[in-house]
């Protein structure tokens, strides 16, 4: 049994403009001590997905199951959920300044975390908080514990948040873009710290990011999300060297790499779709340069591609076309052209256009 088994998770929010379908049938599992990277643009549903696991999506309609240590988090009572939250599943958020309460001392906030779950007195909790701050590399923790968040630097605040997340030795830590708000040099330090703590504590880690580069050295497995669905799932090597989904390949090609100085970045054309009015078929088809007629009609499921055991992709392109080599690109183009009856320009088309094209075809 995996530590966490999410299956067919749907999350939607009712707004005055219509239902926002933030997550549309996502499944994944995570074993103890492993790291899962979830990658996607803003609005891909990656944060909503994990906030649902913490019970933070108030007002959302949630469907599916999320078994944590065998118990479905989505059907337990609020009190049972509260006991899990923080103690067994802890979270680290993006902006450490706004994620810490500005009016309470850093130590107070860590002590509160400990005392919310364990019947220890203030002095004991405080000693533990000092140890935790030391563990995450904050100098003079016994003094800094009485600082307010605004007296910390950005990197120190994120360290403090990490200390708080680790306070109760959680089985799973969800890090939602933990380095996005930090300077590049600090980013590397924080990632190193997370990795070291994970190895020491043996916790599982879900790392959410829009930056494939961040999880390159970190994740055992990566799930790429697009418009509320998983586009591709693979182990780290599979994803970086043998990506199947055109969206994953697009993400890989839009990473600035120091090795390819002078090479042009290839951004993915177009904008992520509206989650209220999604394109027909595959949600990525309006932006996909290989889109076929079928893509505008049928939504592809996540199916294994022709390499590893756990590599799967939700794309109608043949499963043998993997990676970003020129040869593979040509093969994809041929496959796309073969499945197409109408010429189309990626990035220009929208969901409505797709319906028109369909009618024309």
């Amino acid at each position: 049994m995996s530590l966490l088994e999410v299956s067919d998770l749907h999350v939607s929010f009712r707004t005055t403009d219509g239902d926002v379908q933030a997550v549309r049938g996502v499944s994944f599992e995570l074993d103890a001590g492993r790291t899962l990277g979830i990658v996607g643009e803003s609005g891909s549903g990656k944060s909503v997905c994990t906030q649902t696991l913490l019970g933070l999506t108030t007002g959302a309609r949630v469907r599916g199951t999320a078994r944590f240590e065998g118990e479905d988090l989505l059907s337990v009572s609020e009190d049972e959920f509260r006991a899990v939250r923080g103690a067994k599943i802890a979270a680290i958020f993006q902006d450490p300044l706004s994620s810490l309460h500005p009016l309470y001392k850093v130590g107070w906030q860590i002590v509160e975390m400990i005392r919310a779950h364990e019947p220890v007195n203030r002095a004991v909790a405080r000693r533990r908080a000092v140890d935790l701050l030391g563990l995450v590399g904050i100098p003079h923790p016994a003094q800094r514990i009485d600082d307010y968040p605004h007296q910390f630097s950005g990197g120190m605040r994120q360290r403090a948040l990490i200390a708080m997340a680790l306070a109760l030795d959680p089985k799973l830590v969800i890090a939602d873009e933990p380095t996005t708000a930090l300077d590049a040099t600090v980013q590397a330090q924080i990632l190193d710290l997370l990795l070291r703590l994970q190895q020491e504590n043996g916790m599982a880690l879900i790392m959410i990011t829009h930056d494939l580069g961040v999880i390159a050295g970190l994740a055992d497995e990566v799930m790429v999300m697009y418009a509320g669905r998983a586009a591709e799932r693979a182990d780290r090597r599979g994803l970086y060297y043998r990506a199947h989904h055109p969206y994953t390949n697009g993400l890989l090609e839009s990473i600035p790499s120091s090795g390819a100085a002078g090479a042009r970045l290839r951004p993915i054309p177009g904008q992520p779709p509206s989650l209220i009015r999604l394109p027909s078929g595959c949600a990525f088809h309006p932006r996909c340069e290989f889109a076929m007629d079928r893509c505008t009609r049928e939504q592809p499921e996540l199916v294994p591609v022709e390499d590893g055991v756990r590599h799967a992709s939700a794309c109608w392109l043949p499963g043998r076309l993997l990676g970003t080599t020129e040869e593979m690109k040509r093969a994809r183009q041929d496959a796309g052209a073969a499945g197409r009856t109408v010429e189309r320009v990626p990035g220009q088309s929208t969901g409505q256009d797709a319906a028109v094209e369909e009618g024309a075809a």
């Binding site: 923080g86 103690a87 958020f93 500005p102 009016l103 779950h117």
Partner: protein
């Protein structure tokens, strides 16, 4: 900190001095004949001149003002033109009444307004929230005399004629002579005054809470597994309260200067009542004293509120 305090006290003194100057000058802009009023219509001209001389009203205006200021700085507020009582005595009698009214009402509206505001914000668009919004709208749009009259009509007049004399009609009983009767007599005025002010606090608290509840640190608190009520009170309300406290200080100070309508309606001889009747009697020393006292409350409250702000929010630096 010390520099801040010195600067604020100095500017406060300047404000008070300007107010004294304006209030003093105002009496000589409007046509009046104080000695004639004091003496009555049957006074002879020589009697009027004698009174004018006694009061120093024959001296040039700057000299009169200088004498007034000199006395004021020595703690002498002068004597009422109307009944010759020391102004300090008149104010000393009226201040406890106004303070009782204002502080009692302030506690009511603060507790009531913040509580309704929090409940509204925690369950937006619920029945409770809508009821709170309607309450706030009524309170904001209702003139203060109307709620007082309604309370008097239904809770005093109707009940009393029905044989249930639960509320006294008017008047004031000192808190030292009978605390229960003190509260009993003030209950209706407290509610009248609190009702119109509470509405502002409902709206302010609700808006602040809604804003704070969307903050990242509230998400953090919830992700920690802290109980929901604790997140609402210790995390959200604590952060939402800062502007409420600021508003509260200013409102309370404003009322300590006199709640004219409520005092008159419920027959409470407080500072507002004293100020209004003194204006109609052209009782200059009393008017100046009441105006200055009200100004002192406001000036002091502003300084206290700024200090409090720094206490409530560690990010604020005074300087």
């Amino acid at each position: 900190m010390l520099r801040f305090l010195v600067r604020r006290v100095l500017s406060g003194v300047l404000v008070l001095w300007l107010i004294s100057l304006f209030t003093f000058g105002l009496f000589y802009v409007a046509p009046s004949n104080v000695p004639r009023m004091i003496c009555g219509r049957l006074c002879t001209q020589s009697q009027v001149e004698l009174i004018t001389k006694q009061l120093g009203l024959n001296q040039p205006l700057p000299v009169q003002y200088w004498h007034f200021l000199d006395r004021l700085l020595h703690g002498d507020l002068g004597y009422s033109y109307y009944n010759s009582q020391p102004v300090s005595t008149l104010i000393g009698n009226a201040l406890p009444i106004t303070a009782s009214l204002a502080i009692g009402a302030a506690v009511l509206w603060l507790v009531g307004g913040v509580a309704i505001g929090v409940v509204s914000a925690v369950r937006p668009r619920s029945l409770l929230d809508r009821a709170g919004t309607i309450f706030a709208l009524i309170g904001l749009s209702m003139p203060s005399f109307l709620i007082g009259i309604l309370l008097l009509y239904f809770l005093f007049f109707k009940l009393t004629t029905a044989g249930l004399a639960w509320f006294p009609p008017s008047g004031y009983v000192g808190i030292t002579s009978d605390p229960l009767e003190w509260a009993h007599h003030l209950l209706l005025p407290w509610f009248a005054l609190a009702f119109i002010t509470a509405a502002t606090y409902v709206r302010l608290t609700r808006n602040q809470m809604l804003e704070v509840l969307g903050e990242d640190y509230i998400r953090t608190a919830r992700s920690k597994g802290v109980a929901r009520s604790r997140v609402t009170i210790r995390h959200a309300l604590r952060a939402a309260l800062t502007p409420v406290v600021t508003q509260f200080g200013i409102d309370l100070a404003g009322l300590l200067g006199g709640a004219i309508v409520t005092e008159r309606l419920f027959g409470l001889p407080g500072l507002g009542e004293l100020a209004v009747s003194s204006v109609t009697r052209q009782d200059q020393p009393v008017v100046i004293a009441t105006v200055l006292l009200a100004a002192v409350f406001i000036v002091v409250a502003n300084i206290v509120v700024d200090l409090l702000y720094a206490v409530l929010d560690p990010r604020v630096r005074l300087g």
